[in-house]
Every structure is written in structure tokens, then in C-alpha cells.
């Protein structure tokens, strides 16, 4: 716990690193050495047909940040997260991973598409995505799931990948299940395996897309414990979640999305104890 608090303390300086389109970033310029930029999203728009889900969202994550994105359903949280690794293609705006901007071109309609697929594939290995519905590959054992990307994307040797994978599985408490198939695991176990799989590519940033929403209530705890553990070791993470208590405990920055814009953001104490905007006040009271 003390380690986690220390981590938060260190990040106090740049707690305003996420900002709405148009406004200037108010970074902690009094900090002599800022942690390097892990993810920078600028003025992201996303339209599904006539429906504009994201209306200009900008967010910067520095290394060591744990950012929790909260908001009601349909507020665009998941879409935003999926735009970061281009699983969803933004209509306009830009995304930079570790300072490298993903080059995009017009797709002929009114959206964008990556102009260099190889670049997207390379940058995606910096992002460890954890899905709401786990999405483990059902035809592989847990161990095979975890070594798949290191071997077939990063080109590591199988022996090396297995060594890393077994350490990760030990860490999430699934070492004994390494030869089981996903269908024979509980939801909580599957999600922990999925976290190990995402960690196996040694990503710069972990992305969590509502990691506990598909779980039975009694299984939520074990998954949150693993994520909390990652936050404690200062791993950079962006987390879309409905678990407010958890978000408050692990995140050093909370972003409240409403109707496709960042309605309010700040450190957890401010967001949960002193919400300014009406909508955030309503949202906070509705979940208590």
C-alpha cells in the first residue's frame, strides 16, 4: 500500500495531463524531469454512421500513470480505448504511442485508416489489451495462449517464451492451470489468464476494457487484485471500469466521459469527493 501511495505522490505533478480538445495542456512544468510520454491522444472523433460517439477527446498518459476512465454506458469509454490500438478506427484525430504518431490517411468515405499497417502492428505490441469478454483463444491451452504472441509476433524462442509465461502465470495464480483449455476455467481465471497473455508481450501500456464487467460478482475480486498489483508496481495503465472504489484506489487520474467528451478529470479525491460538473455529481450519486 505504501508503494502505491508513493507512486501516486510522484505523479501529483502532472495530474492535469488529460485535457479537452482546444484547451492547452497544463502539465507540471515545474517538474524538472517528466516521465516519458506513453500515449498521447489528440482531438479524437469517432462516428458510427450518424451517431458521433467521441466528439474530440484528448488524453496523455505518462509512464507510470494509472488512468481510470469512467462514465455511463454509451459515453464512449470503450470506443475511446479501442481507438488507441486502432481496433476501432477514429474518424479524425491522432494517436501517438511512445512519441510515435500512427500515420493515418483518408479512407475514401469520411473516416481514417492507417497508412502503414506494419506500423500499427508494431505499435500494437506496445499495448497490452485486456478485453471485457477475455477473448482467450479457445483452441489453445492457457500456456499456449500466453506464449502465442511472444513467439509468433515478437519472434522469441519457444523456450524463452515459456519461461516468461510460466513466471507470469505464477504471478496471476494460474500456474497449475497452464495445460487446461480456457473453456474449463472460471471467468475470473480466464480473465487472469488474459492479463498474463497481455503482459507476455511486455507492453509499454496496459489497456483494460471493462475487465470485470462480464464476471460474476464473487469473481471480480480476484481479477481486481491482479490489476491492483500491476498498478502498485507503477505499470502504466489505462482502465475503463465500472468499479468506482477500485478506480479510486489504484488510479492517479480519473477521466469522466459523458456524451463523447471529457466532462471532468482530475485526481480521484477531487473527482469523487468534490465533483464540479452537474453530470459528474449525478453520476457519482447514482452509483452510490
Amino acid at each position: 500500500m505504501t508503494g502505491k501511495n508513493a507512486a501516486r505522490q510522484e505523479n501529483q505533478g502532472n495530474c492535469f495531463h488529460a485535457f479537452n480538445a482546444g484547451s492547452l495542456p497544463r502539465r507540471g512544468s515545474y517538474f524538472m524531469t517528466e516521465p516519458a510520454q506513453a500515449i498521447a491522444v489528440t482531438d479524437l472523433h469517432k462516428r458510427f454512421g450518424p451517431l458521433e460517439v467521441l466528439k474530440g477527446v484528448s488524453l496523455t498518459a505518462r509512464q507510470g500513470d494509472v488512468i481510470a476512465i469512467i462514465g455511463g454506458s454509451g459515453s464512449g469509454k470503450s470506443t475511446f480505448l479501442r481507438c488507441i490500438n486502432m481496433l476501432e478506427l477514429p474518424t479524425s484525430g491522432s494517436v501517438a504511442i511512445h512519441g510515435e504518431t500512427i500515420s493515418m490517411k483518408k479512407d475514401g468515405r469520411d473516416g481514417l485508416q492507417p497508412s502503414d499497417r506494419k506500423q500499427v502492428e508494431r505499435l500494437r505490441t506496445q499495448l497490452g489489451m485486456v478485453f471485457q469478454s477475455f477473448n482467450l483463444w479457445q483452441h489453445m491451452t492457457i500456456l499456449q495462449n500466453v506464449i502465442e504472441a511472444p513467439v509468433h509476433v515478437l519472434g522469441k524462442s519457444k523456450a524463452e517464451a515459456i519461461e516468461t509465461a510460466e513466471a507470469l502465470l505464477r504471478r496471476v495464480g494460474l500456474f497449475e492451470k497452464r495445460d487446461a483449455y480456457p473453456a474449463f476455467l472460471s471467468g475470473g481465471q480466464q480473465q487472469r489468464a488474459a492479463i498474463a497473455r497481455a503482459l507476455a508481450i511486455q507492453p509499454l501500456v496496459m489497456l483494460f476494457d471493462e475487465p470485470t464487467s462480464a464476471l460474476d460478482p464473487e469473481l471480480v475480486g480476484e481479477v481486481l487484485a491482479v490489476i491492483g498489483d500491476l498498478a502498485a508496481e507503477k505499470r502504466t495503465m489505462i482502465l475503463v471500469t465500472h468499479e468506482m472504489k477500485f478506480a479510486r484506489n489504484v488510479a492517479n487520474h480519473i477521466v469522466f466521459l459523458a456524451d463523447g467528451v471529457i466532462e471532468e478529470q482530475g485526481p480521484p479525491e477531487e473527482i469523487f469527493d468534490a465533483p464540479k460538473s452537474e453530470r459528474l455529481k449525478k453520476f457519482i450519486s447514482s452509483i452510490h
Partner: protein, 279 residues
């Protein structure tokens, strides 16, 4: 979807466990003894009262016929499957001209009898070919003069069309999230296809493929109508030579049943390599 696993779920992963197999004890139950006796009596009377004196004379030819049948089955199933994969795939993801082409191929082939296709190829195409000197002089001519290439072609096309539909369903049925997970960790399209989409689709399609392959086995006797000497043709020869009806046909049924059993067991072994739960 998220039900908690029973503690022993992983140890019972196999769909077909050794406990399911009969042991020597399990044969000594009254009803089983009666059935065993009945079966023994049946086998005895078939062997004793029917005529089998022709069998030794035809045994070598029967063996060859079985090999031809198996060669037809294996080659056309493998070739057909290799064609079926792209046929199924373009129907799920392809651009519309390819999609339409694949769709109409499957519809036409599945909508016409295999016997008709076989005869169109052999009597139609096969009699057209000799009229072109270029074909007669090509290196393929020694094969095109034979009948088996037409049998292989017809059976392959038919299998491809049926399997194309099966694979279309199998490709479409692989959860999008699993493909997305592959992309999310930096896999290229080809890697996603090779490592996730295809193996997952084949695994899903295996039970259906099993049935289709058994049907394919039983479609092979049609090649006897274009003078390929498979096991069915050998048995027909026996009947013409000896004027015996039942015995050769019974033997033929037995042979096909044994081949089917081998196929089913082989597929079951494949299916059990990756255990599934429920469904």
C-alpha cells in the same frame, strides 16, 4: 459464460475417457451374452450356409479395389478441403465478385447430382479433349486418356462445394473477439488467419467434416460407372462372373462399414485433441 468451473473440470477434459470403454467384465451381463450368442449364430450361418468359395480367387483384386476406393476418398477429400477453405473464406470476408462466384459455385454443384457431374466431365469433357491436337500432344494426355482423373475431379469439386459451405459457417462462427485479440497483440492478417482463424474454424467444423467424409466415402462407388475399378466395381465383377448376388453385396457392406468405422475413429481422435465443453 462465466460459470465457475467445477474443481475437476480440467481433469475431465477429454470427451471420451478410458472409463467409457468396455472392459472384459462388462461383456458378462445376461443381456449381452444373449446378444453375443445371436451375433455369433448369425456370423456362423452366414459363413456356413452361404457360398464363399469364390472369395480366395478375388481376394487380391478386392484388396486392390479397397486401395483404389481409399485413394479416391483420401485424395478427393484433401484436395476438396484445400479448395473449400478459400471458398468458405471469401464467402465470409471476400469482395463481392469473389463472394458471388464462390456462392454460385457452391449452389450449382450442390444443386446437381454427383452422377451427372461425373458423366458431364467424363463423357462430355473427356470426349471433347481428343479433338484438340494441343491437348493430345501435351504431357497431360497420358492421364487425360485414363478415367480416374475425371473421377478425382468430379469428387473433388463436389466435396469442395459441400465443405465450402461448412467452412463458411465455421469461419463465420469463430468469435470476433478472438480474432480481435490476435490483432490487438500485433498479429498480421496472415498470422491471425494461420494461427487463430483457420485452426479454430477447422476445430469447429470437425464433427461436420466427419459426417461429410463418410458421405464422400459412400459417393466413391459412382466412379465405377466410368470404368474406375474400385472395390464396388470388383464386387460387381464377382456378381457377373459367378451369378452370386447376396454374398458379394454383404461383403461389400461389411467393407464400407469397416472403412466408415476407421474414419469415425480417426476423426474422434482429432476432435479429442482439443476438448470442448458443453455444446
Amino acid at each position: 459464460m462465466t460459470e465457475p468451473a467445477t474443481p475437476d473440470a480440467t481433469t475431465h477434459a477429454m470427451a471420451f475417457t478410458p472409463e467409457d470403454l468396455p472392459t472384459s467384465d462388462s461383456f458378462f451381463k445376461p443381456h449381452r451374452i444373449v446378444l453375443l450368442l445371436l451375433a455369433a449364430a448369425l456370423v456362423f450361418s452366414i459363413a456356413w450356409f452361404m457360398r464363399w468359395d469364390w472369395l480366395p480367387r478375388y481376394l487380391p483384386r478386392l484388396g486392390q479395389g479397397i486401395l483404389v476406393t481409399l485413394a479416391m476418398l483420401v485424395s478427393t477429400s484433401i484436395l476438396g478441403f484445400l479448395i473449400a477453405v478459400p471458398l468458405g473464406l471469401v464467402q465470409v470476408t471476400g469482395p463481392w465478385p469473389l463472394k458471388a462466384l464462390a456462392k454460385s459455385f457452391c449452389t450449382v454443384i450442390r444443386g446437381t447430382p454427383l452422377l451427372l457431374q461425373l458423366w458431364l466431365l467424363y463423357y462430355g469433357l473427356g470426349s471433347l479433349f481428343p479433338q484438340f491436337p494441343a491437348i493430345r500432344q501435351s504431357f497431360l494426355w497420358p492421364y487425360l486418356r485414363e478415367s480416374w482423373p475425371y473421377g478425382v475431379a468430379a469428387l473433388t469439386i463436389s466435396f469442395a462445394a459441400y465443405e465450402g459451405e461448412v467452412m463458411r459457417g465455421a469461419f463465420a462462427g469463430v468469435p470476433a473477439g478472438e480474432l480481435e485479440a490476435g490483432r490487438a497483440y500485433g498479429m498480421s492478417r496472415w498470422t491471425v488467419f494461420r494461427r487463430i482463424w483457420l485452426p479454430r474454424a477447422i476445430h469447429r467444423a470437425l464433427p461436420t467434416l466427419n459426417g461429410e467424409t463418410v458421405l464422400q466415402l459412400k459417393a466413391t462407388p459412382l466412379v465405377a460407372t466410368i470404368t474406375v475399378i474400385d472395390v464396388y466395381a470388383v464386387i460387381s465383377k464377382v456378381r457377373q462372373d459367378t451369378f452370386i448376388t447376396y454374398e458379394p453385396l454383404l461383403l461389400l457392406a461389411l467393407i464400407y462399414m469397416c472403412l466408415t468405422a476407421i474414419l469415425v475413429l480417426a476423426f474422434r481422435t482429432l476432435e479429442n485433441r482439443i476438448p470442448t465443453r458443453g455444446a
